[in-house]
Amino acid sequence: MTNQVLLDCRNVWKLYGARAETILQENDCPDPEALKAAGVIGAVRAADVQINRGEIFVIMGLSGSGKSTLVRCLSRLVEPTAGSIQFDGIDLLSASDAELIEIRRKKMGMVFQQFALLPHLTVLENVAFPLDVQGVDRKTREARAREVVTLVGLEGRENYYPRELSGGQQQRVGIARSLVVEPELWFLDEPFSALDPLIRREMQDEFLRLQNMLKKTIVFITHDFDEAIRLADRIAVMKDGAIEQIAAPEELVLNPATEYVAEFTRHVSRAKVIRAKTIMSPVTSESFAGEVDCRATVESIADQVEAASGPVRVLNNGEIVGQIDKQAVIDVLVGRK
């Protein structure tokens, strides 16, 4: 069986400034004060990230916290100052230019905050662009591009130019372009941050729909915690270039590792993160008024449990693992510990 970890990044640093190279030679792990004294910006500091196949890994943090820099280190768009990155068993940092081009052509895709569409190409040509670069002939690449354009719901607009589309539509093109080569690893750098809230929500649903079909390995960046908990399997919270905690959304809310993470998660509606599994109690009842999945959030089962005449059973892959009664749900909803 192949390794479960697709991207393994250890102790990655990215420093900017005149002394960026030398300072790490003098000191393995300079603290923020030392960096500041040396006039160096620590955009990414000692980042350790393992991304598993098929998961949605969200990197979260305020603007300027180093998310974009980290993800660009992972794709080697920027050269990390130090550290090691293994991608699918390959040492990414020692890959030659030619190897890197090959990896990016076949195995990686990226979606950008400002869409980064080529203004002189139509929707179809933009989507087919990665194939064009690989030298795929026109007929094949346009046929493939058409499939992906349909997948993201833009059929009928193949011949439009980017400037004739709304922001949401432009980002659909960006998504289609990054998917056209069927990448194994899909990077999205704040893909929905430039969109209006309503559109953003719609795009999140669309994104989840796509992921259900495609099952990619995803590194998703956002500064919006609500977006993170809606989409993530696991979240990495960044602050000033360092990763504060990596955990599932629920874990993050229930057991914040640092003061900063706690502050961040304080105002999050717990019902949105806590899952049935966490609040269920051992099976005691004989009869149940319904059933819920153990991964469902409290918010999504609240109505059902409340309306039920008795406790509901909790299933994991069709097997009963526990039960939930009204009281447990109400405790979460009112914020009782």
């Binding site: 660009r72 794709s75 768009l77 081009i101 090959e102 990896i103 990016r104 052509r105 076949k106 990686m108 895709g109 990226m110 950008f112 905050q113 400002q114 869409f115 980064a116 569409l117 080529l118 203004p119 002189h120 190409l121 139509t122 662009f129 990665p130 064009d132 670069v133 690989q134 011949n159 130019y161 004739e164 372009r177 990054s178 080569v181 990077f187």
Partner: protein, 660 residues
């Protein structure tokens, strides 16, 4: 007690006072001390730069040997490379194709008919924007035919069609190289600076010596002149491509080559088209000037008329240049801002309507032209000549307003030009070097001060001090007047949108006119001399003063104006207390542009008899003395560089003080 003399004002007053005293009494000083070196740089110490450069050029032409070929061979090869397509275009546009030579020549194919040329021009303009631009272009070209300028205009057109692609593609490639290699950019930059400040006449001379009199030399000079802005625009445009688009290109796995030609250049193409527009306008400007070294065409007609004092002929040819400039400018701008491309499907004819229509017109008129000569060439009988009309009008103006014009001229000469001239030409060279150094040091730091002193020392040591002072005086007065007229116009344009549209539109048109054209009416009305030169320079250099003033005022942040209004300022106070102070950096940049344009125009006004560096270059051109031309050209470039750096430094300082 208030200190009313700060150190700064004291410095300026002192500098001026000393300069003025020395300027007024330098002659007496020289007599009293019997020291002629005070007013004239000693001949014995003059630098032999001129003869060195001439000798170098002679050596290049006569005996320079590279391993496999001589320098001569190289220039001949370049000449041939340009000559062939140029001759082809001339045949295509005007002369027709012949086989054999001289009397035995047999016509194989005629040139494009005038209808075909106009038709294709209209189609290109329509394709670039819309039918109305097509109509404008059609009218412009029709003008050339109806008013009998067709043959000359097509010769000029052939030059433009050769020089523009070379200039644009060459500039693009150099720009790409500079974008890729910062080291190359660093090496290129001083050359670009010099190319844009050395007056055009100055490199006409070496080009003339290397390539001989004729259209090829003119084309080479034109390309040298028109290329630098394209290089700059390319560098800036490529750098301005959003970082994310570059990253997107890398993420899909572009190679270096794909990155440049599939991502960067196409994304930057609107900005690059702005560069191409500049190349076109500069080419047109230069093709006219280059008629002095054999370009022929409209420029030659203007020059010949000016020499003959044939007023009507000069104006006719001049207007033809204007008309052509307007058409080329608008069409190339339309390409720069061209929006959506349509996607067509269907047969070849349906997919390429423009190409097929053009082709149909060309073939159709070619066939028809065999039977009806009027289709092939515009019939001579139907041309209208406005020459006599213009001659008569100017004569009428001169007869009726001669006294008024003379009076104005006299007042300006006596009240402004002569005193300023006396002041500048009186300054002894030694003090001039020091004063320039102090001036530059105060405004732009000690490095610039030192550089300015070196430049001025070079000028003195070249024996060109006097002519340089005349140049500075003429430039100074013209820039002063241009600002005096231009800045209020700019303020007006900014404050009143409707007037603004008219004024700025007019300035756009003024800027599209080749510099040569300005000389025509000026000479007609005021004849030759400093006054005429000044008027031409003021007209030519007016546009940037207006534009930058209008732009600067409009850029003032709205919240500051609102704050002023809330504090109860009257519109007048808002203008003088808020807008103008905040716009000073822009005004200074406008001043910078005005100075640059004034200097470039001054050289051309040598044709109307000034006694400055321009004249020196012009003399060098007529004597084909490369050394003399280049040294005088360098002197102009040095003045331009000093002015440029100092004004930029002043603008930066002002911006810092305002916290912008």
């Amino acid at each position: 007690m208030r200190r009313w003399i700060t150190w700064s004002t004291g410095f300026w007053v002192g500098l001026f006072a000393v300069t003025w005293l020395l300027s007024s009494y330098s002659f007496q000083l020289y007599k009293a001390l019997d020291a002629r070196w005070i007013v004239r740089f000693p001949k014995a110490y003059e630098l032999p730069t001129e003869s060195r450069i001439s000798a170098l050029l002679d050596w290049l032409v006569d005996s320079a040997h590279f391993v496999f070929f001589t320098f001569r061979d190289l220039t001949r090869a370049i000449a041939a490379l340009i000559e062939i397509p140029y001759q082809f275009l001339r045949n295509l546009l005007i002369e027709g194709f012949q086989s054999g030579l001289g009397a035995e020549a047999v016509q194989i194919a005629p040139s494009l008919s005038w209808i075909a040329v106009i038709g294709v021009a209209v189609l290109i303009a329509h394709f670039a924007r819309d039918l109305s631009l097509g109509a404008l272009t059609g009218v412009c070209f029709l003008y050339l035919a109806v008013f009998g300028q067709w043959a000359s205009a097509m010769v000029t057109m052939a030059s433009v069609l050769i020089a523009v692609p070379i200039g644009a593609v060459g500039g693009l490639l150099l720009g790409i190289a500079a974008y890729r290699s910062p080291l190359f950019e660093k090496l290129l930059r001083p050359f670009l600076d010099l190319m844009q400040t050395v007056p055009v006449f100055a490199y006409l001379v070496p080009v003339l010596i290397l390539f001989g009199f004729g259209p090829v030399a003119a084309l080479v000079a034109t390309v040298i002149y028109a290329m630098p802005p394209m290089v700059r625009v390319t560098i800036v445009a490529l750098k301005a491509v959003p970082e994310e688009i570059k990253e997107a290109g890398r993420m899909v796995g572009c190679t270096r080559h794909q990155m440049m030609w599939k991502v960067l250049v196409p994304s930057a193409s609107p900005a690059l088209m702005v560069g191409v527009n500049q190349v076109i306008m500069l080419t047109l400007n230069m093709v006219i000037i280059a008629s002095m070294i054999g370009a022929g065409g409209l420029g030659f007609d203007v020059l010949a008329s000016l020499r003959r004092l044939d007023i009507g002929g000069g104006i006719e040819a001049g207007l033809a240049i204007v008309v052509m400039a307007i058409a080329l400018d608008r069409v190339s701008q339309a390409f720069a801002s061209r929006g959506v491309h349509e996607h067509r499907s269907g047969s070849y004819l349906k997919r390429h309507p423009w190409t097929s229509t053009s082709f149909a017109i060309i073939v159709g008129t070619l066939l028809l032209g065999q039977f009806i000569p009027a289709v092939q060439t515009y019939p001579k009988d139907l041309t209208i000549t406005t020459g006599p009309f213009w001659t008569a009008s100017i004569e009428w103006i001169n007869v009726n307003f001669f006294d008024a014009f003379e009076a104005i001229k006299l007042v300006v000469l006596q009240g402004l030009l002569l005193p300023v001239k006396k002041f500048f030409t009186g300054i002894p060279w030694a003090w001039g070097i020091i004063a320039t150094g102090l001036f530059a040091w105060k405004l732009a730091g000690w490095r610039m001060g030192l550089m300015a002193m070196l430049f001025m020392a070079f000028i003195s040591a070249s024996g060109l001090w006097g002519k340089t002072m005349v140049t500075i005086y003429l430039c100074g007065v013209s820039v002063f007047l241009a600002s005096l007229i231009g800045i209020p116009l700019g303020i007006w344009a900014a404050e009143r949108p409707r007037a603004g549209r008219v004024i700025l539109g007019l300035m756009d048109t003024l800027q599209t006119l080749p510099s040569f054209v300005y000389l025509i009416p000026v000479v007609m009305l005021f004849r030759v001399g400093d006054f005429s030169a000044m008027i031409a320079v003021v007209l030519y250099a007016l546009a940037p003063a207006v534009r930058y003033a209008a732009f600067g005022l409009r850029e003032v942040p709205a919240h500051l104006i609102e704050a002023g209004r809330m504090a109860g300022c009257t519109p007048r106070q808002i203008l003088f207390r808020i807008k103008l102070p905040l716009a000073t950096p822009h005004l200074l940049l406008g001043l910078n542009q005005t100075i640059m344009l004034a200097l470039s125009m001054l050289v051309i006004t040598a044709l109307v008899g000034t006694r400055d560096l321009g004249q020196e270059v012009y003399i060098a051109l007529t004597k084909a003395n490369a050394g003399q031309g280049i040294v005088a050209g360098l002197c102009v470039a040095f003045i331009a560089i000093i002015a440029d750096r100092v004004v930029h430094a002043a603008a930066d300082g002002q911006r810092r003080r305002l916290g912008l």
